[in-house]
């Protein structure tokens, strides 16, 4: 009993700290306006969202608070009495509420004195403080927050009771549904081998039709997603398959973009190569740089490799930016007027054309990645990632395979970089900051290391979603960071984990020419 209440208090403290933090970074306002946008009542630029939307958002958090404490691991019996649950919920809610009350009093009082808190805490405008206090005095606003927290947490705790008792029912319904779908025509469809071909056909058709329909804005966003799929596939080979943690992946992206730009842009070298030749050059130069960098450093393991490659990425960026190479790369100004593709004399510069180009590149990369992964090479990489020493002793030329992984990964990045530069008709040092590496690493990990569908999913989730939820722009990296930690703790294998193929060839019952001796050991297994 005592420990369960302690648990509730602890949970309440966590929720209290989190909500105060969200208030301090201005997230409460953003979340409330997002909610309002979702119900079709967008907030004006200068005005604050309604109090109701704030209550809804906080309400969810408080319900969760109560829900979590309502039932905990220490309970031997799942059937915790309602009274205990209410008590737990109340404890947690009151604890959280106390945090909110204190916060309201402190911030509200300072605000009432007319001090502009934004000097110190940039998101804490007077408006947003009033919003938190429901335009009441600090004490009244704080008490409303306090009461709401306690009440909602109790409701959450009670709800959890019903959910717990309803769990078995839900499970049995699920089972019945699965059984039904297997029996009915759905089951036949699922096992039919042609279904996947039909699906692929539909997807291809969509990829052809959709870019014509949805306009330049969406083509731009989806093009970015496509380029990140390319990058993700490349890094997935390096990190996900061969297990080499490379943090300076952006270096290859930069090398691809710059080598493409330098041979096509009119300034500073005026080489003006053809797009396709330049593309090949960019890919080759990137792959080569991957090999050259790999030669000395691939002997290092894990975290050392990570830091060295991170340093390498930074070196490339600083050099591109420096005055030292200014004559060669134009320094911080970057390169402009980079060529677009031409085919049979026709210029491809429209967003639709570029979308098709990116789609083609992604399909090609998917094809290659898929084939390498399901081959002797992919298996060698996996073996290296799991136990390098043993992989080598088993006969895997680890050095060669690691170099190969780096080269292929770098080539993908080079392709992505070249397309990126060509589409934007510009590339500069600020396109190649460390954050690109981190973003790509995030999408690979969130999607699931070593999983190709995971990469695609991750690219959409991490590059596509934030574009759609523009309001969250400034919170994106914050969420990424938290997401990485949470993923590592709860689901290190990612959203769409890699699966191993079934390969065993079932041996036919005793044949004369193969081994007829009964299995020498453990015949009974």
């Amino acid at each position: 009993m005592k420990t369960s209440l302690q648990n509730s208090v602890r949970n309440g403290v966590v929720f209290g700290v989190v909500i105060v933090f969200l208030a301090l970074i201005g997230f409460l306002v953003i979340a409330a306006s997002l909610l309002q946008k979702m119900v079709g009542n967008p907030v004006g630029l200068t005005s604050m969202p309604s109090a109701a939307s704030l209550l809804v958002f906080l309400g969810f958090l408080h319900l969760w608070n109560g829900w979590r404490v309502s039932h905990n691991k220490e309970d031997i019996d799942t059937n915790v009495p309602l009274k205990t649950r209410i008590l737990r919920g109340l404890t947690a809610g009151v604890t959280t509420g106390l945090f909110l009350l204190v916060y309201a009093l402190v911030v509200g009082t300072i605000n009432e004195r007319g001090v502009d808190m934004r000097v110190y805490l940039s998101m804490l405008s007077s408006q947003s403080i009033d919003f938190f206090l429901f335009n009441q005095s600090p004490l009244v606003g704080g008490l409303i927050q306090f009461g709401f927290s306690a009440a909602a947490a109790v409701v959450g705790a009670v709800l959890a009771k019903f959910a717990d008792s309803g769990k078995d029912k839900v499970k049995s319904i699920q089972k019945a549904a699965v059984a039904w779908s297997d029996k009915s025509w759905l089951g036949k469809v699922k096992t039919n081998p042609y279904v996947s071909y039909v699906l692929i056909g539909v997807v291809l058709l969509l990829l052809v039709l959709v870019p014509r329909q949805w306009g330049a804005y969406w083509n731009y966003i989806m093009g970015t997603v496509g380029i990140y799929v390319l990058l993700g596939l490349g890094l997935n080979i390096i990190v996900g398959l061969s297990g080499q943690l490379v943090l300076g992946y952006v270096a290859f992206f930069a090398i691809g973009a710059y080598s493409f730009a330098l041979v096509t842009a009119p300034d500073p070298h005026n080489l003006q190569f053809n797009f396709w030749i330049a593309l090949v050059i960019a890919v080759l130069v990137s792959a080569l740089s991957g090999v050259l960098i790999g030669l000395p450093i691939l002997r290092l393991r894990g975290d050392y490799l990570a830091i060295v490659t991170l340093g390498f990425g930074e070196i490339i960026r600083i050099l591109l930016k420096s005055d030292w190479l200014k004559d060669f790369t134009l320094g911080p100004r970057g390169l402009r007027n980079i060529a677009g593709p031409t085919l049979f004399g026709r210029e491809f510069i429209g967003d639709i054309d570029f979308m098709y180009l990116i789609i083609l590149a992604v399909l090609l990369a998917l094809f290659i990645a898929r084939r390498v992964q399901d081959s002797t090479v992919g298996r060698a990489w996996l073996a290296i990632s799991q136990d390098e020493t043993v992989a080598q002793a088993t006969g895997v030329d680890t050095y060669k395979y690691k170099l190969l992984a780096l080269a292929i990964g770098a080539a993908f990045a080079g392709l992505g970089g070249a397309l990126f530069a060509s589409r934007n008709q510009f590339t500069g040092p600020e396109d190649h900051v460390l954050m690109v590496s981190i973003n790509v690493l995030c999408l690979v990990i969130v999607g699931g290391m070593g999983s190709i569908p995971g990469v695609v999913l991750g690219a959409f989730a991490l590059k596509g979603l934030p574009e759609i939820l523009r309001e969250l722009e400034s919170y994106r990296l914050l969420v990424f960071g938290a997401l990485l930690v949470v993923m590592m703790i709860l689901r290190p294998e990612g959203l769409w984990p890699a699966k191993r193929p079934n390969l065993e060839v079932k041996q036919p019952p005793p044949e004369p020419e193969t081994d007829t001796r009964p299995a020498a050991i453990g015949g009974g297994s």
Partner: protein, 368 residues
């Protein structure tokens, strides 16, 4: 760790990688000597300039050393790079900043009628409190970091906690940006520690200034480092830390509370990083949410340089890196812009040619 000590012989390395390393080493050193030699013969700098650069490098190095110790302590015990350690330093810097701001905002009228801010009436108290708050907040951050982001991952494959650490680093940086805004903030020093003032030491015709802030930082970091050394070598906690670093399970069997020792290690690293953060603010004036990132990576370089896991190594590595970074661009005759390139290049070269660092054991090398 057996297998790692390989006798160095004069025979040529037998594998490809080793051969490339050898060639690269020769090339790098030849280039380095040629460049330094070329610059030295036509150098426009006098002795005073070199000394000035060296002194400022030493001061910077002291801060690197304090942060580097944090990396080394954690690495020694958990075999992980605490990637978010630079952010812990940033948090410490902000802790000190707010103390100075608060002191500066309160006016005090003294007996003779002049009105001074509290900061200048009680400068020593202000500095003391700034360090106290900065160090405690950083220590708290380190403690929570370990508890939330690393402890649940103990025993996981090595990449997992590293990724978690990267995540924590991104989170803290952006939390800092959202809370305090992206702009740089100016540390308000008490008049006692006004930047740009100090003792003039005449050198020939010119002179070199030892700034008050610099000397203060250097002395304080020396004191903290000695304190840490005593703590690790002489106290029970230090003994427990060394035991856990050697072998966690055996230490646990001997009655050492491993979790507690690890927590305390993070607290100690946080204290040192926090102190470095406040010094950074006092000496370098401007801080923002990104303040911790580069010093963090460079301090890690320093830790590797000295041999990661080795405390005196981290100190030496930090001082060395600070001086190289400061003197290097001039000695190589390149743009000062490229000082970060020098730091990173040193990291890469050290890891390639001597992964064990100056004083350390070969941890980066192959293990069986």
């Amino acid at each position: 760790m057996e297998g790692t000590k390989r006798k160095r012989s004069l025979t040529l390395p037998q594998n490809k990688s080793g051969l490339f390393r050898l060639i690269a080493a020769v090339v790098v050193f030849a280039l380095l000597f040629w460049r330094v030699g070329a610059v030295a013969t036509v150098s426009q700098f006098g002795a005073d300039t070199w000394l000035r650069l060296a002194v400022s490098g030493l001061i910077l190095g002291g801060m690197y050393a304090l942060i580097a110790i944090g990396y080394t302590l954690v690495y020694g015990i958990l075999f992980m790079i605490n990637f978010a350690h630079g952010e812990v330093m940033m948090i410490g810097a902000f802790g000190g900043y707010f103390v100075f701001e608060a002191f500066n905002a309160i006016p005090v009228t003294s007996a003779d009628g002049t009105t001074l801010s509290l900061l200048n009436s009680y400068p020593i108290l202000a500095v003391f409190l700034a360090f106290l708050v900065g160090m405690s907040i950083a220590a708290l951050a380190g403690f929570l970091l370990e508890k939330i982001a690393y402890r649940p991952l103990r025993g996981a494959p090595r990449l997992v906690p590293l990724i978690s650490a990267i995540g924590a680093s991104i989170f803290l940086q952006n939390a800092g940006q959202l809370l305090f805004g992206p702009q740089r903030r100016e540390y308000i020093n008490p008049d006692l520690l006004t930047r740009g003032t100090g003792w003039e030491i005449p050198i020939g015709e010119s002179s070199v200034m030892l700034t008050y802030t610099g000397v203060f930082s250097l002395v304080l970091s020396a004191i903290l480092m000695i304190g840490l050394f005593v703590l690790v070598q002489r106290t029970k906690l230090g003994k427990a830390m060394r035991a856990v670093a050697q072998d966690k399970s055996t230490a646990a069997l001997m009655g050492v509370d491993v979790d507690k020792v690890i927590s305390q290690t993070f607290v100690i690293s946080g204290l040192l990083a926090g102190a470095a953060g406040v010094m950074w603010g006092i000496h370098n004036q401007l801080i923002n949410y990104f303040t911790g990132f580069l010093p963090g990576i460079k301090a890690f370089t320093a830790a590797v340089l000295g041999g990661i896991g080795n405390i005196p190594g981290a100190m030496i590595g930090g001082l060395f890196l600070g001086i190289v970074e400061s003197v290097g661009p001039a000695a190589l005759g390149i743009d000062f812009q490229l000082k970060d390139v020098i730091a990173f290049s040193i990291l890469i070269l050290v890891l390639i040619f001597r992964p064990s660092g100056i004083l350390g054991e070969a941890l980066a090398e192959e293990k069986v």
